[in-house]
Amino acid sequence: MIEIKNIFKSFGSSEVLIDISAKFERGKTNLIIGQSGSGKTVLLKCLLGLYVTDNGELIYDNIYSSRMNDEEKINIKKEMGMVFQGSALFDSMTVLENVRFPLDMLTKYSEREKNEIALKFIDRVNLNDAINKLPSEISGGMQKRVGIARAIVLNPKYLFCDEPNSGLDPKTAIVIDNLIQEITKEYNITTVINSHDMNSVIEIGENIIFLKKGIKLWQGNNKEILNSKNKEVEDFVYSSELVKKLRKN
């Protein structure tokens, strides 16, 4: 579980995160939602340690980030996996090499063991036919699946996904959402997903945090969000005319 307490973050005079507290539970798909510019990505990058918070506390399974020394910070990063918005695959490496990369860099397994582990995770995301292809030779959905395989190949405790289904067609987006949810349950990971996609919210939103202009306005789950009386949340959820009509019916 990850807990954040009273997080503040600003860039120059612009306050991006203001007094945010929340809990992201293990084995659940935790969603951070909100419009563009609401601070979702900054919050995720704070959780990943890519940004240092101005104030507040990040607690990873009862370990306070403020009390960690440099070695502990490196060790906690090794417990994290990240699926990037643009997949962030290494262009010059094949699918197998991309998935094997964290094993090559951070473990002492033999070549055979590393290949076996990488192939197991490639199989888990159904990409057996693409192991020798370069990222440029596969579709956006497949790239996302490679990104997921690479993120979980070290069996992380925490999985972070930055808009994992952006740029994908609705059907592939649901496949990716479901894959992330299945992996979260299967490996009992604390998964935190940034999204502004309502399909994802409704499909996999077990714990949802709604941000607006850097402030947490609401927290609940996918059932509660549809009946929320919070006006800002309602505006976000029912921003589409089509969804409004479906609600009336």
Binding site: L48, L50, I74, N75, K77, K78, M80, G81, M82, F84, Q85, G86, A88, L89, F90, D91, F101, P102, D104, M105, L106, F160
Partner: protein, 232 residues
């Protein structure tokens, strides 16, 4: 940046692979362009020397002597380094800059890998092979001069004698000292522009241009300082 690239190193076997890849990309791949430029510029330099030393009172050996001095002291180390600022520098900036834009550097950081060590350190080490290119350039420059003189009708014996005339080994040492300093500049300045760039794909191009601009300027200024310190 340079200090950070030397700490928290990757595994040795991975570093070796990266260094050999960079030697191939940065040094060996530059040999064709350096060869063509050196050979023809050597030829042009010797023809211009011959043009300016037409007096019958001046020995033809002076053409070889002047060509050698130009090639060894200035053309090979400095002129080729400016060319390399365009070729190698823009490659380094654009490859690292693209990794920044496509979040590949963030991916390395999230994994707990020192991205500066992974990306920049192998380039600094690979560029230690850069004097090899300059040696090659010196040789081909002088060879180009010999061919040009033969075609112009100047006896090759006079040119070769000129090359050997009043040879001062310190001039070669000076040239290699410059080359080593330039190799460090060629690896680090473009890497800095790529690593710390912000923006999108268009900004990668801008960063490459900036990188060439600054690398060239720094090389020219450092060239002046080293020359002032060692030769004046």
């Amino acid at each position: 940046m340079v200090k950070s690239s030397f700490i928290k190193p990757c595994k040795k076997n991975i570093l070796y692979k990266l260094i050999f890849k960079e030697i191939n990309d940065l040094v060996l791949d530059s040999i064709p362009i350096v060869s063509i430029l050196s050979f023809f510029i050597g030829g042009v330099v010797s023809i211009q020397m011959a043009l300016n030393l037409e007096s019958p009172l001046l020995s033809k050996t002076l053409i070889g002597f002047a060509t050698r001095q130009s090639v060894i002291l200035e053309f090979a180390p400095t002129f080729i380094s400016i060319i390399m600022a365009g070729k190698v520098g823009s490659y380094i900036t654009s490859s690292i800059g693209t990794m920044r834009v496509t979040e590949q550097i963030d991916a390395l950081e999230v994994m707990g890998i020192n991205s500066l060590n992974y990306l920049v350190f192998p380039k600094i080490i690979a560029m230690l092979m850069y004097p090899f290119i300059i040696t090659f350039s010196m040789f081909l420059g002088l060879l180009g001069g010999l061919l040009a003189m033969t075609l112009t009708g100047v006896p090759s014996e006079a040119y070769i004698q000129g090359i050997q005339m009043d040879f001062d080994i310190f001039h070669v040492t000076y040239s290699y000292i410059k080359t080593l300093v330039f190799s460090f500049i060629l690896a680090t300045v473009p890497a800095f522009h790529g690593f710390y760039m912000k923006g999108g794909a268009l900004d990668v191009g801008k960063a490459s241009t900036q990188s060439f601009y600054w690398t060239s300027i720094i090389i020219i200024i450092v060239n002046y300082i080293i020359t002032q310190l060692l030769l004046s």
